[in-house]
Symmetry: C2
């Protein structure tokens, strides 16, 4: 199978990631729940992973790296833990339901006001709007780093400047970019960076988290046992314990830690360069095929995603044909990004998304181009 659904989850994990998980399952106890060897080993693995993630994203304090089960949990934690009744929030048409649904719920239940920076037909934002929409009670801008549908990047420097000028927090969804291109949360002025482990970071499912700028006080989404301060009726206030109730997925985190080692060995810029080259090769091959419509803006730096449709064919049927007749895995349909589909005019048809990873090859890319051409000629 040619796997081009890496924006959903990377299928090919480095062998050392799988081995690290297996080894943790053979030897790791419960982190922070004892002082015997296997428990201490688990604690060291988890702390090591925090330090590596902190270094990767330029989070100044490793103890402000909090682990969650995925980026959706990270976003729910940040959004629900920071935004209060009566607050105003600015977000964008590019967002995934992991941002939209928590915000819609706060709007419906907690008197939170929302404004959206609209996307144009190519999926681009008008950055001046962030400042124009700012109000005295704007608590946060919640913004993706790249559209999971088109791959368009958001210029976080401009968003960050608007947030800072307006006294608002900047919460970033890095689901599509963590591990795929360099992210410096200090330089970019990000207050909370939410990431997932199983996509670009090439780690196991069940991992993810948030990097929190010191001084940003997030109320916990869930509370419970922490192995420390057992007699306190409330969750400890210190990060990371503050947001980590219950036993961590130390098995998965061991894999994530090995994945970050692997990424650092290659270097994120090299990964980004290769993925970009494959994505652009694919784009060149398909964009002029009669009947093919490609969505998004390819003029600048971006994530390695190409979303397209063939004539008025249902995107689900095209994706099925790619899987069954060509052995090519893609994702069709609505991609949990309803506002983006409305902006692109693909609400009914959905779109077929091709997303590339470090493990893909030029030969696979060329086979995908041929498949699109043949389907367009039918």
């Amino acid at each position: 199978m040619i796997y081009l659904d890496n924006a959903a989850t990377t299928l090919h994990k480095p062998p050392q990631v799988i081995e690290a998980v297996a080894e943790a399952m053979r030897s790791s106890g419960n982190p922070a729940r004892g002082a015997h060897g296997s428990s201490l080993q688990a604690s060291r693995t988890v702390y090591g992973a925090r330090a590596k993630i902190a270094a990767l994203f330029h989070c100044p304090r490793p103890d402000h790296v909090v682990f969650t089960s995925n980026v959706t949990e990270a976003l729910n934690t940040a959004i629900n833990g920071l935004i209060r009744p009566g607050d105003h929030v600015i977000t964008t048409d590019l967002e995934h339901n992991s941002v939209l649904r928590p915000l819609y719920r706060l709007a419906a239940e907690r008197d939170v006001a929302l404004d959206f920076v609209p996307a144009d037909r190519r999926g681009n934002l008008d950055y001046a709007m962030f400042s124009q929409l700012m109000r005295p009670n704007t608590r946060a801008i919640v913004c993706t780093h790249a559209s999971n549908l088109t791959g368009n990047l958001v210029d976080l420097r401009q968003v960050s400047a608007a947030a800072r000028a307006g006294g608002a927090l900047l919460i970033v969804d890095a689901a599509q970019t963590a591990g795929c291109l360099p992210i410096d949360m200090e330089a970019l002025g990000i207050d909370v960076l939410c990431f997932t482990g199983h996509k670009g970071l090439m780690g196991p499912q069940g991992t993810g988290g948030l990097c929190v700028r010191a001084g940003v006080e997030i109320a916990p989404l869930k509370v419970g046992g922490t192995g420390v301060q057992s007699y306190s009726p409330t969750q400890p206030a210190e990060y990371p314990t503050r947001l980590e109730a219950g036993t961590l997925n130390a098995h998965g985190i061991a894999g994530l830690s090995a994945a970050v080692d692997y990424l650092n060995e290659i270097g994120i810029p090299a990964i980004h360069e290769k993925e970009t080259a494959l994505m652009r090769r694919f784009l060149r091959g398909v964009r002029d095929i009669p009947g093919v419509t490609v969505y998004g803006d390819f003029s600048g730096d971006r994530a390695a995603i190409v979303a397209l449709n063939i004539r008025d064919y249902d995107s689900g049927e095209v994706s099925d044909a790619l899987a069954q007749d060509y052995g090519i895995a893609t994702r069709p349909g609505a991609h949990c990004a309803p506002r983006m589909h409305r902006a692109l005019g693909t609400e009914q048809q959905g779109a077929v998304r091709f997303s590339f990873s470090w493990y893909n090859t030029e030969a696979e890319t060329d086979q995908a181009i041929r498949a699109v051409r043949e389907l367009a000629e039918e």
Copy 2:
């Protein structure tokens, strides 16, 4: 190392569990996020795990088995998703902070009233209290199946009868019993059964969940992408999607599925019998050693846990000595069960917990007895 900290996490996993996780990491896509082979394979694995968990706990509907990252998340989901402002809740002194802290938070922030069924010095409950504490606005009884400190079982039949008579829901924390002894949620009248994957079920960390009786409507703790109904601004109402936002830990769930197969091969009653025999062997060996105090009630069926102290020695120092001088892993301190320590009178000293699993042996148990004897003679 002799690992007797199985109530924190089971260190020894069946080899097929580790292999199932590794195989899923080699071949599984994102469940419910596409129709290509690897995504469908992940979906089938997850559905298979739901069906096995449903059968194990006698949950009538596999689609009402919801996966979470651990039992703490399951309990937070059930408690926050069912208990409303103005409600009254009955719980017990046996509870872990994973039950206490969510309830304390609701009491502090959402006008929820709490009552506790007290434990006596042996850690036993007076079951008549459940009915006596019942009020017209009692929404739920939240109750552990076994104390994580003493191993005392709670008679869920009596608790369930009180809940039913009072029109309250019964939410059960099975952290210490799932996989260790048979649980029939239908026969016991449990409305929500919360379990973790990495303890008695011998599965990977990062797995757990809740089994929900049909008709019990839990509001989601987190919302986001689901791969279905992308254009709905709210989380889909159907179980399990209702409570499962974001990409599931399909790698871990594959391991949990293999773990349940392993448990079924041996049979839960056989596991319970062996663990009980080891626990009672240990008890017989230590209870009459001068200076040793054992906590809890051993007159009936129970979880395979023995908590003790030696003279007035700090439990942390005893546990350290066991680890360093004897290679025996136990857990000391407060065990995230503050009210239970108060009931037992061990608030200052904590307790050293020995907890047994299917993989322990009589020889290991005898070594632990000798170690306790030697430490008590010092």
